[in-house]
């Protein structure tokens, strides 16, 4: 929104004040979980190859895809991978051969495939991975934390979170269109909180197949492995040749910015939605302090913001849809308007600077050069996959209200469940 014209900004402010997204979408209303929403979108995207392996809580996605294939609703090569590392290898091969490929996982499964992420993104294979977040071992814990997907953030994939099943459906289509754009050709991680999004159904408006086809054309991958056009993917290189390859990968990632803008605006105009391409601002127009968040807990946070607003607190919510590429300029523009920012962290990076989570590190770097910086703190919340309760968001609001008044906080990171008791 940073570069949007004035009248658009005013319209958005009015809409935010009304507390409603100006959605005017048409289609079939379904009641779908996040996994169901992804499955529907993938069917409509006519994916060619999916590689499966079971792990809670994302497994249902693959169950649904296999049923669609068995019933003839989707013409899909459904490959039973022997593990998550293999899933990514299978998808890598399929994408390299020009197929629209899909895989997915959760938690430690995302970790097991770690080796293959860089080969895939550096190989510019535009496949999609649906991740239903799960806390990492030890021990087994089926609840949602974002550390699984966030741990891959250095591997060169597009990486973003939905906060409702509707957004999962929409992101599934948008991410393929963005990743398959010839200016980009990058793989995408399409993330949703395990259980909270993956397993709780909500209203999802599904467009027609014709509308989807018009938005998302078939994949064009000119350098696919094909005996008609022999070429080599991925020869060894001498260290002196490495920087050129790295630079081209950075260019691909940064080149995604205008494509994301273009694609999301196109999506909005076709489907009557009002997504900001990068960052959602909720009740921020006259906010003095904001919660910064990514993912499903934003849905609860919005209710908490409403309640705090009723009590006269000038609080807002800033939700980033993307972690890679990190929308630095947009966030620098937005966050410097406020006196205090509290980053809700449902992830961990043990021993990180400021003893906070991963997103705070990105926000701190975003703000580093700003002449006037807000007070910055972190709220470690929802860890282990626990619900973040309304009263916990109220506590965060109180801390931020205090911080805005005082110009500082006692801590760089507050642990919900410990410091608020």
């Amino acid at each position: 929104m940073a570069n949007a014209p004035e009248d658009v900004k005013l319209k958005r402010q009015a809409e935010e004040d009304a507390g409603a997204l100006a959605d005017s979408r048409t289609g079939t209303t379904k009641f779908l979980t996040g996994l169901g929403a992804a499955a529907h979108a993938l069917k409509m995207a006519d994916i060619d190859v999916a590689s499966s392996y079971p792990i809670r809580p994302y497994t249902g996605l693959m169950m649904m895809l296999s049923m669609m294939a068995a019933r003839g609703e989707l013409d899909l090569e459904f490959v039973h991978g022997e593990g998550e590392h293999a899933q990514l290898g299978i998808a890598h091969g399929a994408s390299s051969a020009g197929a629209r490929a899909l895989t997915g996982s959760s938690g430690v499964g995302v970790m097991y495939a770690m080796e293959v992420y860089s080969p895939i993104s550096g190989g510019r294979c535009p496949l999609q991975m649906v991740i239903a977040d799960r806390t990492l071992d030890p021990p087994g814990d089926f609840g949602s934390e974002h550390t699984d997907a966030l741990s891959t953030r250095d591997q060169g994939w597009l990486l973003g979170w939905a906060h409702t099943p509707q957004e999962v459906f929409d992101n599934t289509l948008m991410f393929y269109r963005i990743g398959e754009d010839p200016r980009v050709y990058l793989p995408q991680m399409n993330c949703q909180d395990g259980y909270f999004l993956s397993h709780i159904p909500m209203k999802v408006v599904v467009p027609t197949q014709e509308e989807v086809d018009a938005f998302l054309p078939p994949l064009q991958f000119p350098d696919a492995l094909d005996p008609e056009n022999p070429l080599g993917h991925g020869p060894q290189l001498f260290p002196g040749q490495g920087h050129i390859l790295e630079a081209s990968r950075v260019n691909a990632m940064m080149g995604a910015f205008p494509v994301i803008d273009e694609v999301v605006n196109d999506f909005n105009s076709r489907f009557g939605t009002s997504y900001d391409p990068f960052v959602e601002q909720y009740k921020c127009a006259d906010a003095e302090y904001v919660l910064f968040i990514s993912g499903g807990h934003a849905y609860t946070a919005k209710f908490a913001v409403d309640h705090m607003r009723e009590k006269g607190m000038k609080i807002g919510l800033v939700r980033t849809r993307w972690v890679r590429p990190w929308p630095t300029d947009y966030l620098a523009d937005i966050l410097t308007k406020f006196k205090a920012v509290g980053v809700v962290e449902t992830n961990n990076s043990f021993g990180a600077a400021r003893q906070c989570g991963i997103l705070t590190l990105e926000v701190a770097t975003t703000l580093y050069q700003a002449p006037k910086k807000p007070v910055l703190t972190a709220f470690m919340a929802g860890l282990g996959g626990e619900v973040i309760r309304l009263d916990e968001f109220y506590y965060m609001g109180d801390v931020l209200k205090d911080a805005a008044a005082k110009g500082s906080t006692e801590r760089t990171a507050y642990w919900i469940g410990f410091h608020n008791v």
Binding site: G93, V116, L231, P235
Partner: protein, 326 residues
């Protein structure tokens, strides 16, 4: 197995078998200049022969190993057919994905050409060790692809370390001989090809071949390609650097391995083994061991153990051919 429509299956024309070396030599080359393999490199020869046999309608996959690093060192490739690097762990997985992609795209009308022959060219590490899981899964799922294990009995690319195919008694940089371990390597190698046969009873074709028997090897590559489903070719590919041989002894060494009964040439199809080398008697293994520096530290007691292992192997495999006395 394949779900392709009949006419698309028929469109994949069988590669005819070669009668003799002249027919083999006459084939076009698809493994050309651009690699920097060692003089006498057995795996490089196995690649050249496989590419000649495979022909134009091929896609080759190179898990990390000598046939990746020593072949593409400076952002170059010696393959005149499509080729892709895979991780050492996942040659079988990537082949599966490519095979599935062609199945889907042909069936859905998104690709108009012929189904290609897809070959994984993995070293013994990328086949029976770190790559075992992906190799097995490709065969279990019966993707239409060929898994070729070029076996130089070590992790060569990284400077000669032991793998699960390294023979008992062999020196490697992870199994040096010394007073504590006079035999250097104490562990007996896996029987990779027969292990895969046992593990995947549905697999239609498995073959063991050697670069020292090139026409036999090239025909096995072609038979594997002609199968509509997964197939495995295990080729003995001698490494002069790793085994301590001169470049001009490589083919002799391969012959001796077969003549001593330590490497069997066979095909397994329709539930039966056929053996392509059936002498009146096998030579004693010392003939094979004595030309390789990697066995130079062994004593007669170790030679006897190796001979015993070979004899047991012949018995286990039902090969009723005696071994000459020393």
């Amino acid at each position: 197995m394949t779900t392709l429509l009949e006419e698309q299956v028929q469109a994949k024309v069988d590669l005819p078998l070669l009668q003799n070396i002249h027919k083999a030599v006459a084939l076009d080359e698809y493994y050309v200049m651009g690699h920097r393999t060692c003089a006498g490199c057995g795996p490089a020869l196995s690649y050249r022969l496989a590419c000649k046999a495979a022909g134009k309608n091929s896609i080759f996959l190179g898990p990390t190993g000598c046939m990746y690093v020593a072949n593409t060192s400076y952002l170059c490739v010696p393959w005149a057919v499509p080729w892709m690097h895979t991780q050492i762990t996942d040659g079988g997985a990537v082949a599966s994905g490519i095979s599935a992609a062609y199945e889907a795209r042909i069936r859905k009308g998104k690709y108009k050409g012929t189904f290609p022959n897809i070959y994984v060219f993995a070293g013994d590490g990328g086949s029976s060790d770190i790559g075992l899981q992906a190799a097995s899964a490709m065969m279990y799922r019966d993707h239409d692809a060929i898994f070729v294990c070029y076996d130089n009995e070590c992790y060569s690319n990284t400077g000669i370390q032991t793998s699960a195919q390294t023979p008992y008694g062999a020196w490697t940089t992870f199994t040096p001989p010394g007073p504590k371990i006079p035999e250097a390597k104490k562990l007996w190698p896996k029987d990779f090809a027969r292990g895969m046969i046992a593990l995947h009873p549905g697999m239609q074709y498995t073959a063991a071949a050697s670069i020292s028997y090139p026409v036999d090897y090239m025909n096995k590559i072609r038979k594997a390609a002609n199968v509509h489903g997964a197939a495995l070719v295990h080729v003995h590919a001698i490494c002069p650097k790793g085994w301590g041989l001169r470049a001009n002894q490589v083919l002799l060494c391969g012959k001796l391995a077969v003549e001593c009964g330590t490497f069997h040439l066979f095909e397994y199809e329709n539930g039966e083994y056929t053996y392509q080398y059936q002498p009146k008697a096998f030579k004693p293994v010392t003939e094979y061991l004595k030309i390789q520096d990697r066995f130079a530290h062994l004593k007669p007691e170790h030679h006897q153990k190796i001979q015993e292992f070979i004899n047991q192997g012949l018995k286990r495999c039902g090969i009723k051919i005696p071994v000459e006395a020393v």
